[in-house]
């Protein structure tokens, strides 16, 4: 139960953090204006050199990246980090085009992406910065409490169309997924729908609703008794029901928690990555090193993700 309570706190913190970030931006803009005026008045000013760091990618990781950036900037005021989301695919294509310093990705970079990066003279370097579990969620009023991986796969490929087939109510199943540019989508396709089998070419049923944000999925699952969705553990709120998942028929049904993910009991968990386009400059390397310290990893835990050791 601890993690459920903690998520409320996290979501509140998330809310406040967006306010803080907004205020911070405003202050930043204002201070920028101030500086200009001062500069004109006094003419000569000892201008500090700032290091600008562009960080882009996974929406799953965007809050994590924001927290990291905020904390790190407190410790190192000379570094300015701008964090944007857009999805893992977006981050990696920016990496390929060499327009970011660090790309966040909730899935591993693909071979063909490395190839096209190499073509552009970019040699991506991979860092595993945190771990995440994907929770399968339904409406709180849905009597289903647990599913096997095979059942989840059959739901999303369209083999199972009604909750009654799983022992639930007589209701059509509405499948929800993130858009195809989301790392969570790709991970779910490979590890759940295809059950980790690389030869398998099964894809999502065409009936799957593709929503552009985690919040959109939570909102629909919260309100619709027919719906099933999946999302990163860090995004799950108390208003939806998390299902226990078994790796196979007969295996234990396990809820995603910090412990079950750390001990590798929960079936749907993954690494979260940061990619750099080639050997990073020293100030970027320092930032990456800091993320791996206990201080950086504490933020991982705070946001509902699982730290790497």
């Amino acid at each position: 139960m601890f993690w459920r309570v903690s998520f409320i706190i996290f979501s509140m913190r998330k809310f406040f953090s967006s306010i803080t970030v907004g205020l911070f931006l405003l202050l930043f803009l204002l201070s920028g204006c101030q500086k200009n005026i001062n500069g004109e008045q006094s003419g000569n000013q000892n201008v500090t050199d700032y290091y600008y760091l562009e960080n882009k990618g996974s929406d799953t990781m965007v809050n994590l990246a924001l927290y990291w950036a905020e904390e790190y900037q407190k410790l190192h005021p000379e570094v300015r980090i701008s964090v944007t989301g857009g999805g893992s695919g977006t981050g990696i294509s920016s990496l390929i085009n060499n327009t970011v310093d660090l790309a966040n990705a909730s899935r591993q970079i693909k071979l063909e992406e490395i190839e096209s990066a190499n073509k552009n003279g970019v040699d991506p370097i991979e860092y595993v910065v945190a771990r995440d579990a994907i929770a399968v969620i339904v409406h709180p009023g849905n009597p289903i409490n647990r599913l096997t991986l095979q059942e989840v796969s059959d739901i999303y490929t369209g083999k199972i169309e009604n909750w009654i087939q799983l022992g639930g109510e007589d209701r059509p199943i509405v499948r929800l997924s993130r858009e195809t540019n989301s790392g969570t989508h790709v991970y779910f396709l490979e590890e759940v729908i295809r059950l980790g089998n690389a030869e398998d070419k099964t894809i999502f049923s065409a009936n799957t609703l593709l929503l552009s944000s985690s919040e959109g999925i939570i909102a629909e699952v919260r309100a619709n008794r027919n719906a099933i969705g999946y999302d990163g553990l860090g995004y799950i709120t108390e208003e939806v029901k998390v299902l226990a998942i078994a790796r196979e028929e007969g295996a234990d049904y396990i809820f995603p928690t910090l412990n079950t993910v750390n001990e590798n009991l929960y079936a749907i968990s993954r690494d979260l990555f940061i990619y750099a386009p080639g050997t990073p400059p020293i100030f970027v390397q320092d930032y990456l090193d800091w993320i791996m310290t206990s201080e950086g990893q504490k933020i991982v835990t705070d946001l509902g993700f699982i730290p790497v050791k």
């Binding site: 992406e113 509405v174 195809t180 894809i203 065409a206 009936n207 609703l209 593709l210 929503l211 027919n226």
Partner: protein
């Protein structure tokens, strides 16, 4: 000296205005060229039979754009069904029936509606319209083509109302007076004389309204569920759907420049451009059409 200066000034002004005029043509041509140069390679990257197949799942190289084209058409059709009757009737009410003071309140209100950002309508859709439709029509989900149609109808209505209303106001009062003098009722005058006289203006209003709905992105992306289901019957209106605009908007950010997926997205852009072009051509044909004999006599 002074005269010379004025003349030079005149010349500069003329050139500036001329340049602004030509620049819009230039921009359209540049955009068209860009679209064609990025979109046509799709025809070589992807087989035609594959391009017009029924499955869209680009990350595994399924590039069937048929469900997207039909999806856009279903939503647009639904939006027209909502917006055209409602819009024209509203225009008739404002122009012909409403008392002066009400006219003066309603006109700016309708125009205010036109300025509503589509994201706001999308929010309205997610929070109000979609749950309402799910519960009242007992649908599996409220994120359907119908939800998109209703909201897009809301986007098209202000356009249709304000242009139709202008057209109705341009009908000379002598028509109305003549008709009433012949003993026709108010309703017969409106339906038999005023509206037919403003027909071309009203048709243009409809086409422009429809044009807006085809290109609308944000609202449909938020409320239609974005599932690339092939619409096969009218039933499709009550199911989720994926439009061309939503596809481009949500996938453009992720594609690697120059990949088949990238070119196909531009190809979809070309199709979309073709659609809006078609609508605009029809609209301008209506407005510049030669008047029929009967209409000439009437005017």
């Amino acid at each position: 000296m002074k005269e010379n200066q004025t003349r030079n000034f005149e010349k500069i002004i003329t050139r500036t205005i001329q340049f602004s005029g030509y620049s819009s043509i230039l921009f359209v041509l540049l955009i068209l060229f860009f679209l064609l140069s990025e979109g046509t390679p799709a025809l070589f990257d992807v087989k035609l039979s594959q391009l017009f197949s029924e499955r869209w799942y680009p990350i595994e190289d399924y590039f069937g754009i048929l469900p997207l084209i039909l999806g856009s058409m279903v939503v647009t059709l639904g939006a027209s069904l909502v917006a055209v009757p409602f819009g024209i009737l509203t225009a008739v009410y404002i122009a012909e029936i409403a008392p002066k003071w009400l006219q003066e309140i309603m006109k700016p209100l309708v125009e205010l509606l036109a300025g509503l950002p589509s994201v706001v309508l999308g929010f309205l859709g997610i929070l109000v319209v979609s749950p309402f439709l799910r519960d009242t029509l007992n649908l599996p989900t409220g994120l359907t083509a119908l939800t998109g149609s209703l909201l897009l109808g809301g986007i098209a209505i202000p356009t249709i109302v304000s242009i139709s209303e202008d057209a109705l106001n341009n009908v000379p009062d002598s028509y109305r007076h003549g008709s009433l003098a012949l003993g026709l009722t108010r309703w017969q005058t409106i339906w038999g004389v005023t509206v037919p006289a403003a027909k071309s203006g009203i048709l243009m209003a409809v086409m422009l309204g429809v044009g807006r709905t085809i290109g609308e992105t944000m609202t449909v992306m938020m409320v239609t569920g974005n599932a690339p289901i092939m619409p096969t019957s009218l039933q499709a209106l009550f199911m989720p759907i994926r439009t061309m605009t939503a596809t481009i908007a949500s996938e453009m950010g992720e594609v690697a420049t120059g990949s088949p997926h990238y070119h196909v997205l531009f190809f979809i852009g070309m199709v979309l451009f073709l659609f809006t072009l078609l609508v605009n051509v029809i609209a301008s044909n209506i407005s510049s059409r030669k008047l029929k004999r009967s209409e000439r006599i009437l005017s």
